[in-house]
Symmetry: C2
Subunit: 233 residues, 2 copies
DNA sequence: CAAATGCAAGAGCAGTGCTCACAAAAGTGA
DNA sequence: TCACTTTTGTGAGCACTGCTCTTGCATTTG
């Protein structure tokens, strides 16, 4: 029975060589990204540093956009995993929320180019393909999970019908079991954090809040208040 | 008496011709930006459409980055003026706030590439020169001015010393006469709006909130509640 | 062992930012 | 009006980019 057709026979030497090359390419791409920004990502330069002729790189990525897409997916995955870990190490609702937000900021500060890749403005003529929306969801799902114990304190204004269903489908798509008001508050919180990081990383705080550690902490604390996250007791 | 020496003699014909050329260049640059994104801005293409030889464009802008900087300054100025106008047409504190936020969103939706230019992630290897920080301040100043009647409702947590002074210098740099807690709340509100627009424009709401009109309105209303902006009576 | 497959080489196309020496205007003083 | 200076436009050229295509080699497979 060993010769069953659909068997998952291990990777051939060729495949593992290919995988290593792909890893090397991504690595070089990331370092290039960190130095010169997203628009300056050069396939030729990568090939050069890899002792490859320029055209050979296209055996691995059919286009520059394809490479960028791979980097975006990786960034989402890494950030998602990081947040999930921060959420996983539970220490009471409020603390979990604070740590998750701080983890996200730490990741963004440590790799601004990667943050820009996923939450910054789109690359030149780049249109994000559908492959990126699943990993993107992972991030916001983890983020929202950090505040799943929210018991809203703010008086809830009535929601419009359309917004109500939008909130429902969003929560559903993320696999979150929260009511509409909570979902709205979570979206608001996520937008706040993304906005803060965007402003900080793009230098909009220079001369004012620098470092922005205290600002970030204070606003995240206040958001925790709004979300009704009890201080761990 | 016409030949008075110190007279502010109008621009010479040469100067006005130059100004017109610069305007044309900017115009073409903007349309190119709208179609293909910031990274694809090509000086050669602009020169071509202008019936100029490629090198002649450098008589007007010494480099691509210099052109981009000019576009950024323009974008800040336009947005700033827009917000100032929205703030100026007073209709009660709360309404003023709502309208200003909506004006900002309308501007961003109408010219996503310009929004990306100023609040998106930095261009390729582009480092924002100091000339941009003044017009950038105009925008946030106008934005904050829209909520100058804020009477905070949220319980104010104590502020750290460093954050306190940061808030003071920020308010001072913007020429705003607000206390620390208000400045903090204004910064938070600005970050929220920027975050919302960033997410919306970069397609992070597709499949969930689309259109995001209702979401934006709801969150801006809630922010008005937090700021304690009384409904116009 | 032969055939099929994957990989790399190298030339080539069309485009880019930017520089430089030079020529044509355009404005200026005597 | 005529020489002079400043400004603008020209065209060639350098070094680079993404990407395509054909050709030759190596490895894997039947």
């Amino acid at each position: 029975m060993w010769h069953a057709v659909g068997m998952a026979k291990g990777p051939t030497p060729r495949e593992i060589a290919r995988g290593e090359n792909i890893a090397r390419i991504k690595e070089l791409a990331l370092s290039q990204l960190a130095e010169s920004g997203a628009g300056a990502l050069s396939l030729r330069a990568i090939a050069r540093e890899l002792n490859l002729v320029s055209s050979a790189i296209y055996r691995y990525y059919a286009s520059r956009d394809e490479l960028i897409t791979a980097l975006i997916v990786d960034a989402y995955d890494d950030l998602g995993a990081l947040l999930e870990e921060a959420v996983g190490t539970t220490r009471g609702p409020r603390r979990r929320w604070l740590d998750t937000c701080r983890a996200m900021r730490a990741w963004a500060l440590g790799a601004p180019h990667r943050f820009a890749l996923v939450y910054g403005s789109a690359i030149p003529g780049y249109a994000a393909p559908a492959d990126t929306i699943a990993p993107a969801g992972r991030v916001v799902r983890a983020f929202c999970g950090a505040a799943s114990d929210a018991v809203l304190v703010a008086d809830s204004r009535p929601l419009g019908r359309r917004l109500g269903t939008q909130l429902d489908v969003s929560a559903d798509a993320l696999g979150l079991d929260v009511d509409r008001d909570t979902m709205l508050a979570l979206t608001a919180a996520f937008a706040r954090v993304v906005g803060l990081l965007t402003l900080e990383l793009n230098g909009h705080f220079v001369g004012g809040f620098e470092p922005a550690d205290d600002l970030f902490d204070a606003l995240v604390e206040r958001e925790a208040d709004l979300l009704g996250l009890a201080t761990s007791r």
